[in-house]
């Protein structure tokens, strides 16, 4: 398997606190990796590290063939990150925000409108300032920008949160078609049900490192739904 993302014993600090504590991870092209783990385990930090936004203190890491330790800046514009934060400017409209992202990434700005309408932001919503939007609508703006950019590697942090069920389904099928076209997806999610987006692999993070990795055929038996129920069974 060709490796697209490769983390070896990666340690990342925030101030003096170790967020990632020796994380090992590999992923190849065309995978849909579902990252799970308790709150505060380090999932968001992992995605940010893959995007080149966190400095790697120890260990080695490369993404899309770029060495993250030496030149993290070279990887950033090639990944698409959708996090808890949407990176939007409140005082700009949906269209202006998407336009800005496309211009900044040197992508085709012509796609802005069609991408916005594909997520359901049509008519007045296109020219509404983000500050007036509902939580789901904001997320959609960020999503539209991402869809228009077509990154090679998608890093999605709870992408379904705040989206209505129609948009969830749309996102799932959009991602599926991107993966079919050769893209790779790493997504974090706490939800047990993921519609049509079926992960090829489930990775579990705990205490800043990978503590479980189930892929391929083994996945059928240990699907997230089942582990969830097992877990809740324990608690009750």
């Amino acid at each position: 398997m060709q490796t697209l993302v490769s983390f070896k014993n990666v340690i990342v600090l925030s101030g003096n606190f170790p967020i990632l504590t020796g994380l090992d991870f590999e992923a190849g092209p065309g995978e849909i990796v579902l990252v799970q783990g308790r709150n505060g385990a380090g999932k968001t930090s992992f995605l940010r590290a893959v995007a080149g936004l966190l400095r790697i203190t120890r260990g080695s890491a490369s993404v899309l063939g770029v060495d993250l330790v030496a030149n993290p800046a070279d990887i950033r514009h090639r990944v698409g990150l959708l996090g808890h934060e949407t990176f939007l400017y409140e005082d700009l409209t949906a269209r202006e925000n998407v336009d800005f992202v496309l211009k900044a990434t040197r992508s085709d700005t012509a796609k802005a409108s069609s991408s916005l309408s594909s997520v359901g932001l049509t008519g007045r919503l296109m020219d509404l300032r983000v500050s007036k939007m509902s939580a789901g609508q904001r997320k959609k703006v960020a999503l539209a920008a991402l869809l228009a950019r077509e990154p090679e590697l998608w890093l999605l942090d709870e992408p379904h949160a705040a989206l209505d069920s129609w948009t969830r389904d749309f996102l799932d099928s959009a991602l599926n078609s991107r993966v079919a076209g050769g893209a790779t997806v790493i997504l974090v999610s706490h939800e047990s049900h993921h519609g049509s987006l079926v992960p090829t692999r489930v990775v579990e993070i705990g205490g800043g490192k990978v503590i479980g990795d189930v892929s391929g055929s083994a996945l059928r038996q240990v699907d997230p739904q089942v582990t969830t129920q097992k877990r809740s069974g324990h608690v009750a």
Partner: protein
């Protein structure tokens, strides 16, 4: 931890500094003659300018350390620690400059302080490096701190030439360039010049000694931090839910009320 050679040279420099300062005091107070105009006051000249120049020197070292850190090929945390140590000593010497200047100013000008250009810019120099030290105290990981403070240190250095040139640019009350003038020909002579030179050497030696001391402490602090970090990493790796759920014994699962250490 501290290499033997380092320790010995530090001690040697300490002793030499002591001797040099003693010699300067003796020469300055008893051997050299009083000035025609200023009388006994002139003796401050063996302290005040050297102290100011050593402050420049200290900030120069800070800048070099900063550049060496910022330049990727020579990047090493040691340069940053050196820069910081030197800046701290530099702040002390700037403080001494201000104090000796004030003491001199009281009889010479009749005031402790006046809004003269040299004085104002020297005060700014003091504040600039205080800011540098304040920036270092913002919690961040060591690399981040090093980058930020290196940049601040470099920018702050711009004020040094301004302080030096201030007597030329503004019409000031303060003494013009007597020794370090553009033509590099000192306007004082004989034993006074010699004593001044000795003063300069002895304060530089004091600076070197303080720097080595401070730097050593910084290195040790960094080692402690690194050791703490290893422990923190171990702790985080052992966080309550950091083992695979499938492998965990049933009675332990999800019970947050239990103490976290197993």
């Amino acid at each position: 931890m501290e290499s033997r050679g380092y320790r010995w040279s530090r001690r040697a420099i300490g002793i030499v500094s002591l001797l040099l300062v003693a010699a300067t005091v003796i020469l300055g107070l008893w051997i050299t003659p009083p000035d025609v105009v200023q009388g006994q006051l002139v003796r401050l000249i063996y302290v005040h300018p050297p102290v100011a120049w050593v402050a420049y020197l200290a900030y120069g070292v800070t800048s070099i350390g900063s550049i060496l850190y910022l330049w990727k090929r020579t990047r090493n945390l040691k340069w940053d620690l050196l820069a910081a140590a030197s800046a701290e000593v530099g702040v002390v010497f700037t403080g001494l400059t201000l104090i000796t200047g004030s003491i001199w100013g009281r009889p010479a000008w009749g005031v402790w302080w006046t809004w003269d250009a040299r004085l104002t810019t020297t005060a700014l120099l003091f504040v600039l490096y205080l800011g540098y030290l304040a920036l270092r105290r913002v919690p961040a990981d060591s690399h981040q701190r090093a980058v930020r403070s290196s940049i601040a240190g470099l920018i702050a250095f711009i004020d040094v030439p301004i302080v030096h040139q201030s007597v030329v640019w503004w019409r000031t009350l303060h003494q013009g360039a007597t020794v370090l003038n553009p033509s590099l020909s000192p306007k004082i002579h004989g034993e006074m010049a010699m004593t001044l030179l000795l003063g300069f050497i002895s304060f530089t030696s004091v600076y070197a000694w303080m720097l080595m001391h401070r730097y050593q402490i910084a290195i040790l602090e960094q080692k402690v931090l690194d050791a703490e970090l290893d422990q923190l990493i171990e702790e985080r790796r052992r966080e309550p839910d950091s083992e695979s759920r499938q492998a965990r014994p049933t009675n332990d699962v999800g019970n947050f009320d239990q103490p976290s250490k197993v």
